[in-house]
């Protein structure tokens, strides 16, 4: 639904503008200065599908060649890593994989808006948020293998990384149950007087049907918590399309009912995602409350390695998103047009990332499993008597 106009602010005049209208210096500023309903119905776009900017002034501050290439590299890393890991799953070398293909702009753009002291509360497709914040590739891949190097000690299926050092909280597979945690973390920041930081909680479009999504928005609004709730609307929850998920005109509109300012951006436009998330994070960090963001994208691949979308959807639509709206292609075209990235440099970068990914996989695939004793550790802070006995029983059986 990446339609032709750049900024679809339908000024209804019913909502309240958040600030007195500043001078309209760009399409992005124009969008962000709109009233609540216009923002929730509209669509912030800065980089068009053809790789051209809506206007030069909308380019987020600080996006020079270096920063643009850093964003591109982050997106390309996810793309290459996902392709490689999905191949591993097909080869039977890992048990499961869930790609973020086609959603790399939403992942990297939102991650780029965070600061090291911010907290990330991810859903299924946000491993790249952690990786862009510095989670080592090997650490992520160790989790995929569930081996002895996995900081989570092989406790969850692939795509559930955890990285305390970078304030990246581990997800459960239960959809949207992480969102009240994001709000609670933000409430704690406020209670502890830790200003200048925020929590970012992620979900998909399907997740907005879950009770915990509504609970989280409600708490965020009531306590004016420094939280950003970020929905990657990829339009499919396994086989269920957005139209079967909600009768709301846009997902962003759901935030307004809870008194939470809600933005809607083109999720395949790295700059729009960056601008929207920066706006929301900055607002949270200065104590001005929560924001809900809907990033409109498309799940161009399967839900996971266990899924076959050709059974339930028209893949010609998917083809359009894959070929004409790809977020990486869009940024690459922009970079090339500016002379910031040549085809040779692009190929070299891809080669380098591919090599890093392959090396990380080789290193982690050969690592052994976590020690047997870890089976009963971390249930509680110390292993209680009954778990100690259960472990002894297992060791007894193994000893024959």
């Amino acid at each position: 639904m990446e339609r032709e106009p750049t900024v679809r602010g339908k000024a209804s005049g019913k909502g309240q503008a958040h600030a007195a209208a500043p001078e309209l210096r760009s399409a992005a500023a124009d969008y962000l200065a709109g009233d609540d309903e216009a923002k929730a119905r509209g669509l912030l776009q800065i980089l068009r599908p053809d790789g051209t900017l809506v206007d030069e002034a909308s380019l987020p501050d600080g996006v020079d060649r270096t920063e643009a290439l850093r964003l591109y590299r982050g997106m390309l890393t996810i793309r290459i890593m996902d392709e490689r890991l999905l191949a591993l799953q097909r080869q039977g070398r890992i048990g499961f994989y869930g790609e973020a293909r086609g959603q790399e702009a939403a992942v990297v753009g939102s991650s780029a808006a965070t600061l090291p002291d911010d907290w990330i509360v991810p859903a299924l497709r946000e491993a790249g948020v952690g990786i862009f914040r510095g989670m080592p590739l090997r650490q992520y891949i160790a989790q995929i293998f569930g081996n002895a190097n996995d900081p989570s000690r092989g406790r969850q299926m692939p795509c559930h990384p955890c990285d305390r050092e970078r304030n990246y909280v581990v997800m459960s597979s239960c959809v949207s149950s992480q969102l009240p945690h994001a709000v609670g973390i933000a409430m704690a920041m406020k209670i502890a007087g830790d200003t200048g930081r925020c929590a970012v909680g992620y979900m998909g479009d399907g997740g907005t049907s879950e009770p915990d999504f509504h609970v989280a928005l409600n708490f965020a609004g009531v306590y004016r918590s420094p939280v950003v709730l970020f929905c990657q609307n990829n339009q499919w929850a396994i086989s269920t399309p957005g139209s079967s998920q909600t009768a709301a005109e846009t997902i962003a509109l759901k935030g307004i009912g809870y008194g939470v300012e809600s933005l809607r951006c083109d999720g395949n436009d790295i700059f729009a995602v960056l601008a929207a998330t920066r706006y929301a994070c900055a607002k949270a960090r200065r104590g001005d409350g929560p924001t809900f963001i809907e990033a409109l994208t498309y799940r161009v691949s399967a839900h996971s390695s266990s899924d076959d979308p050709s059974r339930y959807r028209d893949e010609s639509v998917t083809k359009t998103w894959r070929e004409e709206r790809d977020p990486l292609t869009r940024l690459r075209t922009f970079l090339a047009a500016r002379g910031w990235l040549t085809a040779a440099e692009d190929a070299a970068l891809a080669d380098m990332i591919e090599r890093e990914v392959r090396e990380a996989i080789a290193a982690e695939e050969s690592a052994g499993p976590p020690a047997l004793a870890t089976l009963v550790e971390d249930v509680f802070e110390t292993v209680p008597r009954h778990l100690g006995e259960q472990m002894e029983e297992l060791r007894g059986h193994q000893a024959g």
């Binding site: 009240p180 709000v183 249930v379």
Partner: protein, 324 residues
Amino acid sequence: MPTMNIIQAVNDALRLEMRRDPRVVILGEDVAKFGGVFRATSGLVDEFGPDRVMDTPLAEAGIIGAAIGMALYGLRPVPEIQFADFIFPAFDQIVNELAKFRYRSGGQYPAPVVIRTPYGGGIRGGHYHSQSPEALFIHTPGLKVVVPSDPYEAKGLLLSCIRQNDPVLFLEPKRIYRASKGEVPEGDYTIPLGKARVVREGTQVTVIAWGSMLHTALEGVDKAAELGISCEVIDLRTLMPFDVETMVESVKKTGRAVIVQEAPRTCGFAAELSATISERAMAWLEAPVERLCGFDTPFPYTLEHEYMPNGDRVLSTIQKTLDW
């Protein structure tokens, strides 16, 4: 030493710990201005302010979900669920999130949340103000479950719960919230978790209970004493992880065991205790382990006293093990 009831002892523990540890916060429905429907958090908002004693929207999953987030960040939340019967909207948050956070993060993110909630019947509360759901949570790896039986126990156990680093379900026996009174030290003291208490020593039958059923058990044991029957009474206090040794050693001495439980019989915690005793004290048992429980029905309204174990039924169960 002041005399307190359980409500006052809980309030005293919370106040003491909030003074001692600025990380401790309270959240729940009606807990701030109103002080909770049972008044357990009365006056705390006046001393500690609305940032540390928070009235929440009416959403149990939100209360527990937010408390989890706070604990991940480093606070020590003590959320209140108004009645244990209302805990089920938060069941997913407790079972799938709270209980598993330490394990699934490999110890990177412990979630030390202490959930306080009044449980149990005998107050004319019907289905939804009377249940005893402890077994569901004991069955959930990663949760500790603690049940005090009197004011001294309530304060000492609650302080221990807030000071340790694992999530706890702290079930408060509301039928005896005010009826149970006793001396409670003014200052700081703790009762270790995972350790049962021998309330009364005896020789012929071991009677095991927790929470308000301890008092029911004692009624029956008093009646038995009048008949010359000597019972040893154990207050289990911590249901997970429970004190196997105290219980089994007692049964090895007496040769008989009666477990009194208010919750429905089938798959109740008494079944686990019975199995544990049978596995570890088979050679010492002189009769099958007996369970006196609530019925396998929803908790009734009019016939609640017929549903719940009472002193007379405790006595007849004790006699049954002796007559076997």
